[in-house]
Symmetry: C2
Subunit: 518 residues, 2 copies
């Protein structure tokens, strides 16, 4: 069984190492893991079954959390009449300019070619939703009359389209899948509680399910969602030190309820405009997952999001050996399934074990169970981990033993669930360490320049008192931006308190999080 080690090394070369070309590595991991690919439609991606299965697991985890916090799902139209955007021009100008515009409703054949029928021109063009505030609030008008109808806590799982010229699989595509929460409240206080609650839901999901540590905070005015009074975000650090915004939660005040004229009768019998929130995460999270955990051999998945948590590969040379190892593999499969493990038996014939290992590694499966004739004789199983945490001073030999262990059968079976739990934790800790290693508390522009231009950058905790022009200046000089203004408890103790703005020297009450970003 030594063969697959050599084979793995040889074939793993198919993934470009991160150190050589990070952007290519990202694409290679996606290809190797069969996660997604470009389509013939400009800017639109195809999410392949393995990528979609990860999205389904994310959806289930998020949806359970939305429902546990009192939300219900609903579905609103894909199309928005242009007049809605005219009405909300301030809102529209922020992000809705690049979008798909529908102008006709019929095709016809002309000399064998299919073209839009000029006679089917719409009186009013429609846009494909880039987000749904306007269309949803138009509906809320008839749903909300009294304080008894509030809070209205609705979420939608949907596709949205924002025309993008430069696309990147999962991170930026013209069409993407997401969820958008849209809630209505009787008071500002309740609405703000909702905004903070949903940010916490996202942070909990990111850290405990995706194993990606995040920093929670407020966006600066320039980075706010168009029409929002306050935008909160969670920001994760990718392995190249750049930040990725993983979720946002907006307090919309009465902007949209005024736009759509949604009033309610409060307990005192007076009419008041409703207070609104919206919040969303998208398939972009799969990009964050890839860039946080994967390695030069391909995708690495946290067990809680792995569509397959353990794959069983029987190893044999003769038909007789095949019969025996497959029989044992089926037993192991049944035992693990009974324990709630998402287990897969790969008994495809005619494919060498090494090729199977390679395929499942590329798909990020956390555990592999190899069953060969010798394991049957000895009553053992071989458990191979997709990754192990680094231990300082450990010999390569010792690490190899942790990576691939031969255990007595009963012990092996009993170890699967605890090992998956441990791997989930280890991934989070590894990401936390990486973030710590690339985070600096910085007080001068010299240090800042050195960090971002000489040392590859990462997260910088800096004092800030500039305006939006100053932010632009930092972007121009260093390609960095304020990711968010973190909540007090998100700031490392050594970086708390007041100081002087790193650019302007003006007094600053607290540090902000600056970095390059996706």
């Amino acid at each position: 069984m030594g063969k697959q080690d050599g084979q793995r090394t040889g074939e793993a070369a198919a993934v470009t190492p991160r150190s050589k070309d990070y952007a290519q590595w990202y694409l290679d991991v996606i290809r190797q893991g069969s996660l997604a690919e470009h389509s013939p439609v400009r800017g639109c991606m195809v999410i392949r079954p393995h990528g979609y299965a990860i999205w389904e697991k994310m959806q289930r985890e998020l949806d359970d959390r939305f429902k546990a916090t009192g939300h219900e799902n609903a579905y609103f139209p894909l199309f928005i009449p242009l007049s809605f955007l005219t009405k909300e021009e301030k809102h529209a100008s922020g992000f809705a300019k690049e979008c798909a515009v529908i102008t006709h409703h019929r095709l016809k054949s002309v000399d064998g070619e299919v073209v839009p029928d000029p006679e089917s021109k719409l009186d009013e063009p429609l846009v494909v939703r880039p987000t749904s505030e306007t269309i949803i609030w138009a509906q809320y008008k008839s749903w909300i009359q009294s304080y008894r109808d509030l809070p209205l806590l609705i979420n939608q799982w949907a596709n949205v389209v924002r025309w993008e010229m430069r696309t990147r699989l999962f991170l930026r595509t013209a069409e993407f899948l997401w969820q958008e929460g849209h809630t209505a409240h009787a008071t500002e206080k309740e609405a703000l509680e909702e905004v903070w609650r949903m940010l916490d839901v996202y942070a909990d999901f990111a850290e405990n399910v995706m194993a990606v540590p995040v920093i929670k905070g407020r966006k600066t005015e320039g980075e706010r969602f168009a029409g929002a009074i306050e935008t909160l975000s969670i920001e994760g650090m990718m392995q190249d030190g750049k930040a990725l915004q993983m979720g946002t939660s907006h307090y919309l005040g009465q902007n949209f309820s005024k736009g759509a004229d949604v009033k309610f009768q409060n307990k005192d019998g007076q009419l008041e405009y409703v207070y609104a929130t919206s919040w969303g995460v998208s398939t972009r999270l799969i990009g964050a997952l890839i860039m946080t955990h994967s390695d030069d051999a391909g995708l690495v998945l946290p067990p809680r999001l792995a569509p397959v948590q353990a794959v069983i590969v029987p190893i044999y040379k003769s038909d007789e050996e095949r019969a025996k190892t497959v029989e044992e593999a089926k037993k192991v499969f049944a035992e693990l399934k009974a324990k709630g493990v998402a287990v897969k038996l790969d008994d495809r014939d005619g494919i060498m074990p090494g090729a199977k290992y390679y395929e499942w590694e590329g798909k990020g499966v956390p555990l592999r169970i190899e069953i060969g004739p010798k394991d049957l004789e000895k009553g053992s199983l071989c458990i191979a981990r997709r990754f192990v945490a680094e231990i300082e001073g450990e010999t390569p030999e010792a690490q190899r033993k942790r990576r691939k262990a031969f255990l007595p059968r009963a012990e092996a079976i009993a170890s699967i669930v605890p090992t998956l739990d441990a791997m989930q934790k280890e991934l989070f800790e590894r990401a936390l360490k990486l973030r710590a290693a690339r985070t600096r508390v910085i007080d001068t522009l010299d240090e800042y320049e050195k960090f971002f231009k000489g040392e590859g950058g990462g997260f910088a905790w800096v004092h800030w008192a500039g305006d939006s022009k100053d932010e632009d200046e930092m972007a121009r000089r260093y390609e960095t931006s304020i990711r968010n203004i973190p909540f007090e408890d998100q700031i490392p103790p050594e970086a708390r308190g007041g100081g002087k703005c790193v650019l302007t020297g003006k007094p600053s009450k607290q540090r902000v999080l600056m970095s390059k970003s996706y």
Copy 2:
């Protein structure tokens, strides 16, 4: 507690009786159940939380069945380039003419009005997918090289758009939600097996989950999906005697693989075009659900699709009574939840019990559990059923007792799951009886005319040997069509065997299913 009976009767008048105006009754049930409503976007509906929760239950049941039969989910682009439809003109001409056409990708503001930016005109217009064969098969080309890549068993949950001028909530809307399976096979035999397998999956879902009996069969040539060699369907009967096509499964032969040039190397090393199937069901099923089971008081849901299977309503006059009944209600809630019942505790204050009963009845909740001070004293619970099966010769008094029973607490709790199971079965049997009562074996046009013009119609088993012009003639005269050519085992024994065509008198091998339809 007698009050709510009077109240229920009074308020139930809000739903138009079926006998008075069936189309209005359908709309009233939807409104009363808060299932869906029209949106300001022509032809597009809003699916409200209760309607969407039913769809989610349908999705879960269907998705489990798709996965159990080896399918995986994936996601393909919303947009299809026009050139794809030109290439598949035969396919496109069948149904893709009425569709949303995207011609621009940017908006701009002109004097405060948002309009398409003329400079953003697309070189090639895109259509919003009316179905995804063309875009999916373009992708399959790179996924399939060898027989080892087959079968490829993929399903997509998505929204699709077919421009419709005359829309009807759930039954016919411009945008609707559906699933579309698209599979690729190495042989015609395997592909045909898949087509039949998925029809069986749909029939199983319709009968055992939706409690709607269906008739399985082949569509006639004129009713086939554009590009299909064979289209199978399941047809249910609505309470007005009309048929509703509830799902279709298509054998596409090599039509789409030839169009997209998808070949594979077979076991003998030769290149061959792949064999294809597709199959789908949509939110239309919610329309079928409503029209099969609901009554003049509103929505009736089979327990297996009820988002809330049992609602608990505490009844009180004083604060002290409230404290006691709510406490007991919480206990009952926990006990039922532990049994896996989808239970809801409605302890909203300030709303009369009668109003609550009315609301939950309108939402089709199968069981209501009332807990009043007297129930606490007696140690009993009141269990009210949303419907009971009719028993011939039963007195109204006896039926009332079955509809609403006071049972000792332990007995009541123990009865919930068996009662839900029984109600599921009773709904199916009631629908089966209704269908039988409105089904005729018909041999002459006189009888046929009498059935459809005098007796309100239903399902007619008739011999048929006409061509498509003859089918048009039947449609013109009676507004009926051949729903499908049922499989032998779907035909009642008394209607089996050969005979003479009801219209042309030509010899016919078997009867077909004719009726009016949605």
